[in-house]
């Protein structure tokens, strides 16, 4: 077997076909799930939803946003999302009044529980949206978080 193929197979052996393609230089790692900058550049919730391909998601009470009603410090607002829907594929957290509206997109592998937490910056009192994709369909929930001391800087 030629040397390069052997190395490529060795490198890709643990990763399957995708890994082999990466090792062969045909596919850049991470390109299959490349970050969609359009989502992060969105200037309105509707634009972010459109960039995600979410259209007009149904509001679902199976999604809970776990966050304080009033944030003591807008620089560090703990936000958790949990969804009791089946087959959750992704969870997006968006802050309507932030200059950078989409805070984070979580892509869950099979077996990963739809219960995530992070901390976000909020510039001012705003609605925070959780957009969940489950079984190919989008759902959302929102919660207003009041901010007394804005956290976006300046």
């Amino acid at each position: 077997m030629n040397h390069q193929r052997r190395d490529a197979l060795k490198a890709g052996g643990g990763l399957g076909i995708f890994g082999m393609l990466v090792a062969a230089g045909l596919v850049k790692p991470g390109s299959a799930l490349a970050r969609d900058q359009k989502v992060f550049d969105a200037k309105s919730i509707d634009e972010a939803l459109a960039a995600l391909g979410a259209g007009k998601p149904d509001v679902s009470d199976a999604i809970t946003i776990v966050a304080p009603d009033i944030a003591e410090n807008g620089a560090v607002v703990p936000v958790g999302v949990n969804a009791s829907l089946d087959n959750v594929e992704s969870i997006s957290i968006m802050v309507e009044k932030n200059p950078y509206m989409v805070a984070a997109n979580f892509h869950l592998s099979a077996g990963t529980v739809a219960d995530v937490q992070t901390r976000i910056k909020m510039g001012q009192t705003s609605d925070v949206y959780a957009v969940v994709k489950a079984d190919g369909k989008y759902y959302m929930a929102k919660k207003e978080i009041k901010v007394t001391l804005g956290g976006c800087g300046g």
Binding site: P99, G111, T112, V116
Partner: protein, 103 residues
């Protein structure tokens, strides 16, 4: 350069919970320094978490995530001694990988 991530992973009742605290300025690019110059945007764009080499979570982040990002998530399975590896990349091309064993 960024300091190490603090990762805690514990398995109980068939679920592993992972908590990560990253060290990163997460600059939005909107702040100015003392002389009035804009501090350039510098933030983690993507994070990948793996359990024994299998991806369990991928997170795309923007500058709205707080400085020194905190993340917590859970997945089914995992046993004491398994490896949890977390890697991030930022908008300047810097990256970092840290790993721990599940307790």
């Amino acid at each position: 350069m960024a300091g190490p991530m603090r990762i805690r992973a514990a398995a109980a009742d068939g679920i592993t919970e992972v908590r990560v605290l990253m060290s990163h300025p997460m600059e939005t690019g909107q702040r100015k320094d003392g002389s009035g110059n804009v501090i350039p945007a510098h933030y983690i764009t993507e994070l990948v978490a793996k359990h024994n080499d299998k991806e369990v979570l991928k997170v795309e982040m923007g500058p709205s995530v707080s400085t020194n990002p905190y993340l917590s998530f859970k997945f089914k399975g995992g046993a004491s001694g398994d490896t949890i590896e977390v890697s991030w990349k930022d908008n300047k091309g810097e990256s970092r990988t840290d790993s721990v064993q599940i307790r």
